[in-house]
Symmetry: D2
Subunit: 466 residues, 4 copies
């Protein structure tokens, strides 16, 4: 790849995207980026969805407000998508929302509530069991058809998806990207406005050191132009710990399934001293269920939302209708840069300027106190054909203890998925903090039923008859 030629001829394989949201975001980001052009091959197990995205994407070419020229082409095989690609973007839904319904809501029978259910907890673990074989398959295809491509993953559970890629093809050049940390940077920017009257701070100006695992990352150093933000954050937490901080952006935790009033984050700061850097809905799922998810009333007190899967199903329906309108041209495509960094990363990897940001990659020593090779989230320097982690140091032992039980549990989950080993999977399941109030027998019973509901994706497993 050479900037003088290749930036005009970048080839991207987009895996997934049938659920529309993420694919449209990429289209928007590519359309508004002047430095790149090329081709996007769209692959989805639902070819029609990919084809509709092809139509939508290609409609952009003639528009005067579009500065990045891209061809979109839906293809019918992974092989076709990958062959010749410089970049591979993965953003899939593992299984359908029916499986996710079981992941999220079945545990409620046992009094176990989940706000998202896609990372850890009973839902995240079972989701991982059905997702890992898919990522093994993708990694094998990448090894064969595009071994030198850079792979950007957006799928959850992020840690285990990325880990499965590296386990299958250790030389893969893959990074897991997630915007949750950006949200915390924005919160710190809001804090500067509220407490100091400094307006319009860009989240990128908030310099942070990040360490942890995806959706359970922590900030142990934060500054803004030479000012240490920790004393300020301490004040901020004191002020808003009880009431919560709603912020100025649109959306409110009571009527938006993705918002919160940051009370979980503030409580973790008061108890442990560092800034937890993910949305409260995610953070809560990493703690014992007596803490923030004890029951729906408690969740309301903590002022964050439980995202019901029926909302996701409804939302999907609306997106399909919108997709029809966009594909036919009835509705014009709105260019809304997403704030995601995928396109920035592509530019940096092509040699168009260095980027320092948080990524999910195997631990090569960047995070002490966590086993090597497990996937961690820390800052990295991204430059031409290169992602080099920045040494992040070590979490304090007490916070590290919260984190590594998930790290080890994820390792066991990975081994169980690769070996289709139900006993081993159960050993991880019963150690999940969200199940800390169940007896092992109850946990085993729940696990059996959850597995059964996702059996379609568990080829080779020996499951009980239902």
């Amino acid at each position: 790849m050479n900037k003088f030629t290749k930036v005009k001829d970048v080839q991207i394989a987009y895996i997934g995207g049938g659920s529309r949201g993420w694919a449209w975001g990429l289209m928007s980001d590519l359309a508004t980026e002047v430095a790149l052009s090329g081709k996007v091959k769209l692959y989805d197990i639902n070819y029609d969805a990919a084809y509709q995205n092809e139509l939508i994407g290609n409609r952009l070419k003639d528009r005067v407000d579009v500065v990045g020229q891209w061809d979109y082409e839906a293809v019918r095989t992974l092989e076709e998508a990958l062959t010749g690609s410089d970049f591979v973007i993965i953003s899939i839904l593992p299984g359908s929302f029916d499986e996710m319904h079981s992941d999220v809501h079945l545990p409620e029978k046992y009094g176990v509530y989940q706000s998202v259910g896609d990372t850890v907890g009973p839902g995240g673990l079972v989701r991982a069991l059905r997702t890992i074989p898919i990522f093994v398959d993708i990694a094998e295809h990448i090894k064969e058809y595009s071994p030198n491509a850079w792979v950007i993953n957006y799928t959850n559970p992020m840690t285990l998806c990325t880990r499965a890629l590296y386990t299958t093809f250790p030389e893969i050049k893959a990074i897991g990207c997630c915007h949750e940390v950006f949200g915390t940077q924005k919160l710190l920017a809001s804090m500067l406005e509220v407490l100091q009257g400094i307006e319009n701070v860009d989240r990128r100006e908030i310099d942070i050191n990040v360490l942890g695992i995806n959706h359970f990352t922590w900030i142990d150093k934060a500054s803004y132009k030479g000012t240490d933000l920790f004393p300020l954050y301490s004040q901020f937490v004191d002020k808003y710990h009880e009431s919560g901080f709603e912020g100025s952006e649109e959306g409110h935790w009571m009527n938006n399934h993705f918002k919160s009033a940051e009370r979980v984050k503030f409580d973790l700061f008061k108890r442990f001293g560092l800034i937890a850097a993910a949305g409260d809905r995610h953070l809560a799922e990493f703690m014992p269920n007596t803490w923030y998810l004890k029951n729906p009333e408690k969740v309301r007190e903590w002022k964050f939302g439980l995202t019901p899967v029926k909302w996701r199903k409804k939302n999907k329906q609306e997106l399909i209708e919108k997709s029809n309108r966009l594909a036919s041209g009835v509705e014009p495509f709105e260019l809304n840069p997403t704030g995601e960094e995928g396109v920035d990363m592509i530019k940096a990897l092509l040699g168009l300027g260095e980027l320092i940001t948080n990524v999910n990659i195997p631990n090569k020593g960047q995070m002490n106190g966590v086993p090597l090779e497990t996937v961690v989230e820390t800052n990295a320097v991204i430059s031409y054909d290169n992602v080099r982690p920045v040494l992040a140091g070590k979490l304090p032992d007490s916070i590290n203890n919260l984190v590594i039980r998930h790290v080890h549990n994820q390792e066991v989950t990975l081994q169980a998925a690769l070996g289709q080993d139900k006993d081993l999977a159960l050993q991880a399941f019963i150690q999940d903090p969200l199940l800390s109030t169940l007896t092992p027998e109850e946990a085993a019973e729940l696990f059996e039923e959850m597995l059964s509901n996702t059996r379609e994706y568990l080829n080779g497993w020996e499951l009980q008859e239902v």
Copy 2:
């Protein structure tokens, strides 16, 4: 030290022993060991208790059945005890049984039961907070008065006592000794009798690889004269999992606070695949309280005992009376070798033959998957002035996850004790699995009350008014 002279002139400092049992055991073991003779200096914060032991010990000298000649001398200061000593044995009760009563029984208010309460769990943690400063003080004295002596610790919480010694004086030559693993070797010997009709197997003939932390050690390899014992143990567990295995030795779990029917051990084997190598009363305390200690009825089903502190108080009274009789000569001292290995270790360290056994020492790489320098229990080769750990390997990830949460929690407890930092101590406390059903607020409330009950030993701490 040279065997030709020094074995006649060994000097031992015995710290503690006022509670009698352990001191008398040592007297018995020394009296029946022909290869050693010398002097034991007895130091206890209760001088009278030490003095009574002096009288009892010195009465042994004239007896014809005593082959090891030792002088006993009670001394009034640690300095006196340590000066000139080749070995230091530590076996103290940190605080009194009143504090232990709070450790063990106060959590019952919150539905948290403990079978021992001296290692982990709320009781073990608070006990550690008051014990660590005592061990810091002992280590400082050893550094000054007997830096080259070998130190053998029997006090619980074993891991943190040993860790505190090394943290204070890194060059210390200390080992923590515990007989719990021996009990599991004996169980395997009983198994050979029951399943194979092989009688009188000595526990030392059961070759094992041990790894874990004190009272939560695991065996991943066991053999007897060239026979792998794992397939046999699997059969054994299948047979006795439900009923429990009572064994042939005196004592039964229903009327002996120290016995069990091994059901916890068997259950852990069925769930995790390795042999847990400690008494069930200890093992149960390392797991979430929904597992084996949910309530007294559950404990009875699992067939092990909760040791009430009032029993300890009563027992102590009986020992004091016995002590009076022994000191005055009314009752003769019975020579009963204890089966402990302290004297064997002393011999090995003096160059009288190599010994391979399990010890608690800092992790220098002998146990993978656990941070370096934390105290672990694995096999070691003990020889002249030398204790070298044998590489034990790594626990499977799922078991390791059970173990390391305690390892990290103990590290935090250590830091909290050294820094007299209540907030930090609470961070460890609320992560203990025995408290997994409490809310953080309940845990904090319990902690505050427990600390208050042990405040006499928490100099320098800022505690709430009661």
Copy 3:
């Protein structure tokens, strides 16, 4: 420190500088930097030299071409210099050029030639022995008087000076800075001009991964705007391996003691496959003396210079005369930005923009294959109050073997200097590759004489009578 106030009030302690060159460079760089102002306290064991620098520095204030306003003040004690300082810059000459004369030229008696003699080799090692105590003393003062200041060291031997600072005061915030890598970046820029006709490439545009130890660093990845530079460098080496590459800059290896024709660098690339990133004069000293420094004729063939100490003495005289002229105002001070990065680092550490560059700091895992805590040179991200190394990976084993023998030898040298242990120092000395043709007896004899010549700086050593 806060950018809104502190950039106007930066306080720098400058230790050394009596030899003028480096101090004037800093004055130039500060005078041309608009974002900073404040005060520089000048401390040198030669107070008069510091005072002359005070005069020279303060003369700049009124000049219209000076945009950075600084007060200069010579002080008489280290304590005075350090108290209140935000930054400490160390640039001293350890001992005088008389000692250096012995370091560099005495080994010639044994056929051992050195091109610089300040890093490794017999000269570098003996220089280290007299420098380490000075840095121990500086570190102790920093610990007492300015523990939070950032320390920037320019003194050689860089690795051991920096290591001595951290050994003495482990919490010190010190970085060792060196421009040798910049020179190699410039060479790559020249290569782009010569082979591709691309002009005016700034060295900062050459993106590199650096790893090794100071003056023996290697580049294993280099790119320019999305072009991998390794294939090009291979062509470049093929073309200029025999003739050498003189470059276009002023100075030629035949009449400039600091220039070379890069033949050593090219030869190392042909033999080992990576780009050695320091001047040839330095590189040659790390290899066995049969390679590039066998004798003066060989050195001429390799087209680099041996820098005689008499040149340094003469040069010093000229600088003193120039200093007199500058101080009196007879000669105007010329503003020549140095290309050093000290001031850029100060800006980054104050929060004025992130900087990624190569620094010498303890290995916290950034360079695999080299012991932790030894000082290595790799890239780091410098931001507000923070220097975080970027993971550099590992050198290929064969190159690593060239490097680590020096790493270990430097560790032994450090221990010897701290313990004033001549036997131990000799164990390092006889392992230096530049002495590989001597017998141990010859090496010992040479060592004794060299030590004797630097005895004034070896307080507490037991040296042979001369």
Copy 4:
């Protein structure tokens, strides 16, 4: 394996042995061991040699002085030998003495002398290049035909042979055995006799801690029944440093190619403070050639022998003649226990008693300061189906520096052999200390010629035309 059955039915595959000496030693050791019996399958690329050994071995069965009953059978393929075997013993000559003649004597053209030439140095390195592919092949066969067998290797270069086995088949259960350390234990026993009048000390009573790599191991702790031997050894060295110590055993360095007067060992102790634990002929080859192997006169002064390959050729001829006599029964087979530990190890691995001894196995943390996975020599505990290294600690940095340059060089040699990469092999070759007085050009020339002489064993290499 169970002792009650298997000790009667042990199956051993013996690979090599055509050169007779080692095979006869094994026969002797097996014949005099009462606890074992079974079958030995003999495989050699020279079938006739193996067959002659079959005849010789089977002649032992009827003898009254033979207590261990073994059947010997020569087989024609590795597959046959390995199938069903419990143990595999490897003792081969890689190539012939013609290749070894080049290894040892060709470097003499450049003034480089070697006393053995089979471990490191130019000879050892080239020998490794031709041996590694053979061991790769053996490991592949073991993986296929006897993956659970224990493999005992006696072939040199020990480190790289063992490393090649593990690299090819990581689950292999292989140990490298060497008697050189035993010789040093015997020297210490002699010392006890000479200095203290203690007679008949068995080498096994000398308790030592061993660490290093094969033929370059070091003892940092030695005791005899509670007496530290270091002060005594220091006296011993002072007494015999100049004259050498001849010992009382038969053989003298002047007329025995395998003896020495231990002057190299004593000199290393004086210079570095630890006891080097191998024969002087081996030790000398690890140091720069200016130290002990400068020229034949120097070697004579150091009182050890250079073993000429023509002696080996002559000796081989004598052994063949002896073999004829033994096979035909003309000469009776003498039972001479070898003092090797192979049979003791077999017993321990079968569960017949624990053994602690020095072995060559991959570094799993038993030796700090040396990369993990490289093969090191330290103590291990050998028990039923189990070899567990004992933590040996770390060599002092200065000695470690002598050792690890060979460790890294051997890693490069391994990679070169596996990749048939001449350039890489040369990178190792030119770093060998025995070549420290050559220029790189001379070294390259020598290397090319040596490779050419061993080309028959370098399939796939691109070698220069001769």
